[in-house]
Structure formats: structure tokens, C-alpha cells
């Protein structure tokens, strides 16, 4: 396989980025949290994500500018989102930017559904640390797997960070493939959080969330 070429995502990548988000959300399972929490179909979610990405809002995992794309022979092969938490025009947490985007593009029915479902997942939600570099939505197209593209794309994000900078990634405990990729990229598990409410498994791939960190 030829060496990957890395570049920032553009509007032309929106379909691929939406595909990446949907597949990464599943964490190797059949459960798609955004769909189950907001009671929306995968197709509808795809449309919403594309509309969100078109806005080119900065500062979260739904920001086009957060994504680096790896190309092999001119074709999209992998992508990873990365951003500095809280570094945006209004110094908003990424969770709030993401909430604003979803709130704007989803009908009231879906927002209300999420509110009704939120009690089950409340104790599995984990915050991101302000000022750290966040990695999210690591995705490699099936036909390009087995070439360490995930690791290479993550490292591409980390290249520009100063020595001493801290990077974080959150992943579900049952996503062994992702955990191995993060470990290869130099991340180590620094905390483990297991939710107590088994109802959450209706909406999430696992009850356990790992925080993995790396100091550049």
C-alpha cells in the first residue's frame, strides 16, 4: 500500500466524515448512541450530520475543521477528529457546541426524546478537560484496515502540539481495536468509569468508559 497523504477535511469530504462519525459512534457494535438517544434513524442522522458539518462551526467533534483525512492514492481512507477543548470564539466546552448544533438541526421531538432517555445515561457521561487536545471519531474504511492508518492519522494530529501538551481520548471499554490503536499511538489508560445503570445499554455500546491520555 502506498504511503498515506494527510490533509485537512474540506466540504468535499462531508459524506465521508458523516460515514466516519456514524461508524465510529458504533464502537464496533450495532448500537449507534446518537440514534438511540435521540430516537432518530441512521439515514436521518446522516442528513443531520451533513447539515451540521456544512456549518463549519469550530471547536468540537462535529466541526469539519477538526478532521484530518488520510488519502491513499487520492482516495479517502481514514479520518480522525482532533481539537483543543474550549479553544473557540466563545470559549465554549465542545459538549455545548455539539448540543447547540444538534438542537438547531434536530426537531423538537428528538430533543425531547433525548431528555427522556438521558436519565439512563447520566452517570456514564464524562467531561473533557479544558485546554487538552481531544481525539475523537477514529475511522478507517474497511478496505484500508490493517495498515496502522488509525495510528498514523492520530499521530498526524499530535505532530503540531508542543512538548508537554496533554492529549486525551475517551473510548468505550469494549472497543478493543480502538484501545490498541490508542496504545500504539502512545496513549495510556488513566481512568476507568463504569456507569451503574444497566438501562444505559439500550443507548450505549458499553457501561465502561476509559480515559486515555498522552503527554506530548
Amino acid at each position: 500500500m502506498n504511503h498515506p497523504v494527510f490533509r485537512k477535511a474540506t466540504i468535499a469530504d462531508i459524506d465521508f466524515i458523516a460515514e466516519a462519525i456514524i461508524n465510529a459512534e458504533k464502537s464496533g457494535t450495532t448500537i449507534l448512541p446518537l440514534c438511540s438517544i435521540f430516537e432518530i434513524s441512521e439515514d436521518e442522522l446522516g442528513t443531520v450530520l451533513k447539515n451540521i458539518l456544512m456549518e463549519e462551526t469550530e471547536g468540537c467533534e462535529f466541526s469539519l475543521s477538526s478532521f484530518i483525512v488520510a488519502e491513499i492514492e487520492g482516495k479517502q481512507a481514514a479520518t480522525v477528529a482532533g481539537w483543543i477543548e474550549g479553544k473557540n470564539e466563545m470559549n465554549l466546552p465542545s459538549s455545548i457546541i455539539k448540543a447547540n448544533l444538534l438542537n438547531y438541526f434536530l426537531p423538537a421531538f428528538n430533543i425531547n426524546a433525548a431528555s427522556a432517555n438521558s436519565a439512563a445515561i447520566a452517570d456514564t457521561l464524562t467531561e473533557r478537560t479544558a485546554g487538552t487536545f481531544q481525539i475523537e471519531y477514529v475511522y478507517v474504511k474497511p478496505e484500508y484496515r490493517g495498515n496502522a492508518l488509525a495510528v498514523k492519522t492520530i499521530k498526524e494530529h499530535l505532530k503540531g502540539l508542543e512538548t508537554g501538551f496533554k492529549a486525551e481520548v475517551q473510548t468505550f471499554g469494549n472497543n478493543i481495536t480502538a484501545i490498541r490503536s490508542y496504545e500504539e499511538a502512545g496513549f495510556a489508560i488513566t481512568s476507568v468509569h463504569t456507569g451503574k445503570n444497566k438501562e444505559a445499554l439500550r443507548f450505549l455500546p458499553d457501561l465502561t468508559k476509559l480515559l486515555m491520555t498522552k503527554t506530548i
Binding site: 466546552p93 459538549s95 448540543a99 447547540n100 430533543i111 457521561l125
Partner: protein, 89 residues
Amino acid sequence: MKDKYIREKLTAIFRQTLNQPELILKENLSSADISNWDSINHMQLIAKTEQEFRIKFSLKEIMRFRTVGDLVKLIDEKISDDQVSSLSS
């Protein structure tokens, strides 16, 4: 009168949504100050605010909402004194 109306209604919305019956809304109150002001409750705050004041925020406007003071300002920009009279009657 408009400011008082906005703050009274917002206090009720925040107290109910965040399940904090004694919450006092200060100007610089933000999601960093309240543990269950999470992303889903944030969406409810916006949705209930829009419903209560019969307004719709643009995406650009809602991205200016970091604190309670920001939200009060956003609502103030979108409703007139006449609308307050109409909403409160």
C-alpha cells in the same frame, strides 16, 4: 419590566430543567458551575426558552450563549416591550 420578566421566566426554566429548585441565576452562571448542566439539559434550556418566549434563535445567536447573562441579552434582543406585555397577559 422586560428584564425582570425575562429573568423570572428564565429562573423557572433553569430551576426545572436542571432540577435545582433553589437556583439563583447570576449573570456569569455557566455550564461550568452546575454539574447537571450537561449537553442534553443545555438543549432543553434552549428549547424551553424558545417555547416560553416564542422565539427561535439562529445558530449564530445560540453560539453566543455561554452564561445566563448572555442568554438574557439574546432574549432581550429578540423581544419587544409590547411582546412582553402580550406574553405576560
